[in-house]
């Protein structure tokens, strides 16, 4: 499950830049690949190493032979993990994506949409947790009906799974709450303590730890006895009502008894037709040999063809990705998933600020705005051309802001374009192009290639140079435009 979840995360990152049809095709191929891999794993685990025998059995009874109990028991959790990871990663991406909009959009709208996404995430996780608790709790209850079925099923370490999932849910709540608050603070231009992420995580763990320790010392055995007593009282109450119902319905039961007393000798209930023995079909005669051969070839041709095409597509799509799966890449991809968690641990913001400070130190010293500049936590890593363009544009806005061409809070990209063009009339065509491409990257699903990103990068560089040149020339370069 963990492996499937990790691969799903990797492929999710990869498929973000695909269009819908391409992504769907990739998902189908990915699903078939998982089916095959899981089948192989389940066969190895269950000791079915005789492939010839297995193939013959699949050929005779395809569905029953392939989808046996070990395969289904491995397939279901895998599918759940895959689906859950994709949905959660999508939601998290949407959350982070929408969070960036606080720069452009109204805070109320952004907050509301973030809260809606958060509710979806938390609601989904709570539903899954409740389902998991139900499943594990009742799976741990042995079923023993004499002469019918006896299933002494026990899921090992179910407590650990539920506790871990609950802890994960609480951490998710804490992270998303911090993200929501940060959005507000950054929009409000508050100075934010650099240690708040680390302390937030620390205090979350402390709260959960303290609550856990206290819970462990609680008299749960007494609780069980209390609930047992409660159930016993409930059963008494239920029995009482059953008796009352029986007494109320007794006259009617008596009447029915008198009415149908004559048919006691009948072996079946009145009004129901007698059960007829099933009619067995005649055994088919043996098929000709050429038909069996053709059937085998066609069946396996189709199956292998589908597997080949799906596998080829899957591995070709991820061919550039898989060689990079080493510890470092895995760590980075995990950071995508637990982005906010790692904000706590490593203080990404501090690093970014330090890097910015170093860059500023390296460049020619200039007097910047006296107001402290607070950058939102934003991943500068770009996985594709779209993200590169977004990052380039945001960098340009930040750079221009630092050099006195600050974007007003309520300015749209088009308005800011006009402002920037008026400040740099020689580069108005580049500024228009940058803005148009940014709008396309941000608000459309049009495919964007690397050439466009490279073009925007060079144009951005030109504009930055011009801004810097103007700022150095201007005597008011240290005075930011008032908002």
């Amino acid at each position: 499950m963990i492996g499937i979840a990790l691969v799903a995360l990797l492929t999710h990152t990869r498929t973000r830049s695909m269009d819908t049809s391409e992504r769907n095709a990739f998902r189908i191929s990915e699903g078939i690949t998982y089916l095959v891999v899981l089948k192989v794993i389940s066969m190895i685990i269950s000791g079915q190493t005789n492939l010839v025998e297995a193939f013959h059995r699949w050929q005779v009874q395809f569905l029953e032979s392939i989808f046996d109990l070990p395969y289904i028991t491995s397939l279901l959790p895998g599918m759940v993990a895959w689906g859950y990871t994709l949905i959660f990663a999508d939601l998290y991406d949407e959350f982070e994506d929408r969070r960036q909009d606080f720069r452009w959009d109204e805070l109320g709208k952004v907050q509301n949409s973030l809260k809606a996404i958060r509710s979806k995430m938390v609601g989904g996780n709570v539903a899954l947790l409740v389902a998991l608790v139900f499943l594990l709790a009742f799976a741990n209850t042995p079923i023993d009906i004499p002469n019918v079925v006896s299933l002494p099923l026990t899921v090992k370490s179910s407590a650990a799974i539920v506790i871990l999932f609950t802890a994960f849910l609480l951490i998710q709540l804490a992270i998303t709450q911090l993200s929501l608050l940060r959005t507000y603070w950054e929009h409000d231009r508050s100075q934010i303590d650099v240690s708040i992420n680390r302390k937030w995580l620390m205090y979350s763990l402390v709260v959960m730890g303290v609550a856990g320790v206290i819970s462990l010392f609680l008299p749960t055995d007494y609780s069980r006895q209390f609930f047992t007593l409660f159930l016993w009282f409930s059963s008494i109450l239920f029995s009482f009502f059953s008796l009352l119902l029986y007494l109320l319905s007794y006259p009617f039961l008596l009447l029915f008894h008198f009415l149908f007393a004559q048919d006691e000798s009948s072996p079946s209930l009145p009004g129901l037709p007698a059960i007829q023995p099933p009619v067995t079909a005649a055994e088919p005669g043996p098929l000709p040999l050429w038909f069996e051969i053709a059937k085998t070839i066609i069946l396996w041709g189709i199956i292998l063809g589908i597997i080949f095409i799906a596998g080829k597509r899957f591995f070709s799509t991820t061919s550039t990705l898989f060689p990079k799966i080493n510890r470092k890449v895995l760590f980075q991809k995990m950071r995508d998933f637990f982005k906010a968690l790692f904000h706590f641990l490593f203080g990404v913001k501090i690093l970014i600020q330090e890097q910015i400070a170093q860059l500023k130190l390296q460049s020619k010293p200039r007097q910047l705005s006296s107001k402290p500049s607070f950058r939102p936590l934003r991943s500068r890593r770009a996985h594709n051309a779209r993200e590169k363009i977004l990052n380039l544009y945001c960098d340009l806005v930040d750079f221009a802001g630092d050099h006195g061409l600050q974007r007003l809070r309520n300015q749209t990209p088009y308005q800011y374009r006009s402002f920037l063009s008026s400040a740099l009339p020689d580069l108005s065509s580049e500024i228009i192009d940058i803005t148009e491409i940014f709008i396309e990257a941000r608000y459309s699903l049009h495919p964007l290639d690397e050439n466009t990103a490279s073009r925007i990068a060079s144009e951005t560089l030109l504009v930055k140079k011009a801004i810097k040149h103007n700022a150095e020339e201007s005597p008011f370069n240290s005075i930011p435009r008032s908002s």
Binding site: A137, N140, T141, V162, D193, V210, S215, D221, S223
Partner: protein
């Protein structure tokens, strides 16, 4: 969100009770405990916080005011996040609010600092300060507490007057005078031979014994310049295009005259018809002429707080007529206003006949002279026009 937590807790406890799974009961308790802790913690944190704001509360224009906020957490529990917002007028800073988000460890205090600039005179509230916090998981709405506003007094600009011509009718004081009429027996400047007609009390007997000739003391003439400033803050009295700069310039002039008088160890008082922010119900009580720096500070505080009014209880003429009876003979009256008309000249003439010495100072870039300026001069009432602070500097 909190309802969802309670539902989850209920499900855990119910399934735990039915199936007998202890860990589910523990989880239910854990969630319930976390929920209760999250609800209780922010309130507890806020109750155990103390905040203080320190800054110099009396400054002159142009000074930078460091404001230090000290927040102490008296609890043994940390404060996960605390949004500190301290409001202040936009006149004192580029931004309207100081905003910072911090975390506070147990039993720790934090010092936050920001700077304000006293751009112009006034009486400004700094604050109120709000402290906002909430829980880690978003189960409770943010709660707030805070401390009320403190007030900052920015004195008006005091321009040192070089050598103002301030006439006085009051003899024998601390200011040297050119008229021999106002000779001050405390200011002996020399001796000369006795002349016929010299009073005997001017004879310096020790010098006479030494010189064997009658010697008399010569005295320096002096006056006592008791000053009262009539500050007219009725906006109707100023030219429509000088309704903002005119009264402000009048206040600066009043402060400068008061400072000069106190420096010369003269008594100075103020009567104005403006609005005192601290006493918005009625007329400002006149401040009688007194000497000393402490009195000057009192005057400057009033001038820092005072505001213009469009229709004050007393206009300038009523103010002069009401208070001139209470002023001592020889007192110099500075009438700071934005326009001069026949009525004012007439009232000042009456004042002059009562032994007071009025001087009219018209303030503002645009001043209204509804009578020819020489009318005032005819009656020996000096009229001076101050268009800007530069004119005051040159005075």
């Amino acid at each position: 969100m909190s309802e969802l937590v309670l539902i989850v807790v209920a499900i855990f406890l119910l399934i735990g009770a039915i199936t007998g799974e202890t860990y589910l009961l523990v989880l239910g308790y854990l969630m319930a405990g976390a929920y209760l802790l999250a609800r209780w913690w922010p309130g507890h944190s806020l109750k155990n916080l103390s905040a203080r704001r320190d800054f110099p509360d009396h400054v002159f224009p142009g000074e930078i005011i460091p404001v230090q906020i000290t927040i102490k957490n008296h609890s043994i529990l940390p404060v996960v996040w605390l949004a500190v917002r301290d409001l202040h007028p936009i006149d004192l800073s580029d931004v309207h609010t100081f905003k910072q988000v911090i975390t506070l460890s147990p039993k720790k205090s934090v010092h936050l600092k920001y700077f304000l600039k006293a751009n112009h005179r006034g009486y400004f509230p700094v604050g109120p300060m709000t402290l906002e916090t909430s829980d880690l998981f978003g189960w409770t709405n943010p709660i707030q507490s805070g401390i009320p506003a403190s007030f900052l007094t920015v004195y008006p600009t005091v321009i040192p007057l070089k050598n103002p011509f301030l006439p006085s009718n009051s003899p024998i004081g601390l200011l040297a005078h050119i008229q021999p009429l106002y000779e001050d027996p405390n200011r002996v400047v020399g001796k000369r031979e006795y002349q016929q007609g010299d009073p005997l009390r001017k004879v310096d007997w020790k010098a006479t014994a030494t010189q064997q000739k009658l010697q008399v003391k010569t005295y320096e003439p002096s006056t006592d310049l008791e000053t009262v400033i009539f500050l007219n803050l009725d906006t109707e009295a100023y030219h429509p295009r000088s309704r903002f700069d005119g009264p402000e310039l009048a206040i600066v002039a009043a402060a400068s005259i008061a400072a000069w008088s106190v420096k010369k160890r003269q008594a100075v008082g103020i009567i104005t018809n403006g609005l005192d922010i601290l006493n918005q119900t009625g007329q400002i009580r006149p401040i009688a002429p007194r000497k000393g720096k402490q009195h000057l500070m009192r005057l400057l505080e009033l001038l820092a707080r005072v505001k213009t009014l469009s229709s004050p209880i007393l206009d300038l003429n009523q103010m002069i007529n009401q208070y001139r009876q209470e002023l001592g003979w020889g007192t110099t009256l500075f009438v700071l206003t934005g326009s001069v008309d026949e009525t004012l000249i007439h009232d000042l003439r009456v004042t002059q006949r009562m032994g007071l010495k009025p001087i009219v100072i018209l303030c503002g870039w645009f001043v209204e002279l509804k009578v020819p300026i020489h009318n005032g001069l005819v009656y020996e009432i000096p009229v001076r026009i101050l268009n800007t602070e530069e004119d005051l500097k040159a005075w």
